[in-house]
Amino acid sequence: MRPLKPVLLGVVSFAVILFSWEAAVRLGWLNPFFTSQPTAIAAALAREAGSGELARSAAVSLREFIAGFGAAIIVGMLVSGDRVASLLGRVLRTMETRSGGGKRTVNEVTS
């Protein structure tokens, strides 16, 4: 079978989900108290965005995310980075040779 347009099918899929969700609520099959409905969610989005609440909350989360993830990147690179590893390896090797140990690779020492 020739593959149908994946993008088209993806759009259809979302459309079907949203439509049947909305229809099920309107026909009384689903209790909107528990499931809400797409139109109500869209209205809530507009309200939150309009009042500035959405932007405020998103800014806080984004700042926390950037600060934490940025710190993680820096620390992660420092700990595992090539330069630090080779420096550590050199220090360890000199310690080994001074203490009379045989030749070993960095990998063996650090593992």
């Binding site: 149908l4 347009k5 993806g10 899929s13 989900i17």
Partner: protein
């Protein structure tokens, strides 16, 4: 060798720094205190109950995820039309932290074990589906064609070629799902629950009992570490 030294150094400085009043032991506790708290907790008796609750939530949710996720993933990998339909919403769900859905799940299923099982299920089923699907898709075409040209039926091809060839990818999904499942059960219990390891962690945190809290945290991380290590071992065996 080096890692043993590093761990020893870490434990020693953790023990000594609070004793020298360099840090406040109220916030950091000390290894020796954690150890005696551990003895307390083991003797105290609620540990087994809490561990049993968390463990059964974890096991039930993950077993369901495995039972549903692997067949669904293999099916989506096999039938492209189905995949094009399901893939976009699936990816949207994959990108959503399952814990963002926690308040809704609690609203639907209450504060008992059901909501935790659901969180574990949702968290782990998606990586299992996605990776099983990818596993089927990356089966090399010549293998399938070779089997076909020897008159293998579709069923034969699936069982004898596609299934074994996609097993390593399925295992990756299982491992990713495991860590999400552990995260899910603990955080869901912390959010709202009456029992379980996560519940204890939250309760001890609000009581400022860092030493007892750390015992439960260590328990969780040991459990998670053991599981992922086992999964990785299994993965290596399957890959061969």
């Amino acid at each position: 060798m080096i890692s043993t030294v590093a761990v020893a150094l870490f434990l020693a400085s953790w023990e000594i720094a609070p004793r020298l009043r360099l840090v406040d032991p109220f916030f950091t506790s000390r290894p020796s205190q954690v150890l005696s708290a551990g003895v307390d907790i083991v003797r105290g008796g609620t540990l087994w109950h809490d561990a049993a609750v968390s463990l059964s939530e974890f096991a039930a949710g993950f077993a369901l995820a495995l039972a549903a996720g692997v067949p669904i993933g293999l099916m989506l990998g096999t039938f492209p039309t189905l995949r094009y339909l399901v893939d976009p919403p699936l990816m949207a769900l994959y990108a959503t932290p399952q814990l963002a859905l926690l308040p809704i799940i609690v609203l639907w299923l209450g504060i008992g074990m059901g909501s935790k099982i659901a969180v574990v299920f949702i968290g782990s089923v998606i990586p299992i589906v996605v990776n099983s699907m990818a596993g089927v898709r990356q089966v090399e075409r010549p293998l399938v064609l070779a089997a076909r040209s020897f008159c293998a039926t579709r069923r034969d091809v699936f069982i004898k070629v596609i299934l074994p060839a996609s097993l390593p990818a399925v295992m990756i999904g299982v491992r990713l799902g495991l860590s999400r499942a552990v995260l899910g059960v603990v955080v869901a219990e912390m959010y709202v629950s009456q029992e379980g390891v996560g519940n204890q962690i939250m309760r001890l945190g609000s009581a400022f009992r860092v030493d007892h809290l750390l015992v439960y945290v260590l328990l969780v991380s040991a459990f998670g570490l053991g599981l992922t290590t086992a999964a990785r071992k299994l993965e290596e065996r399957v890959a061969r």
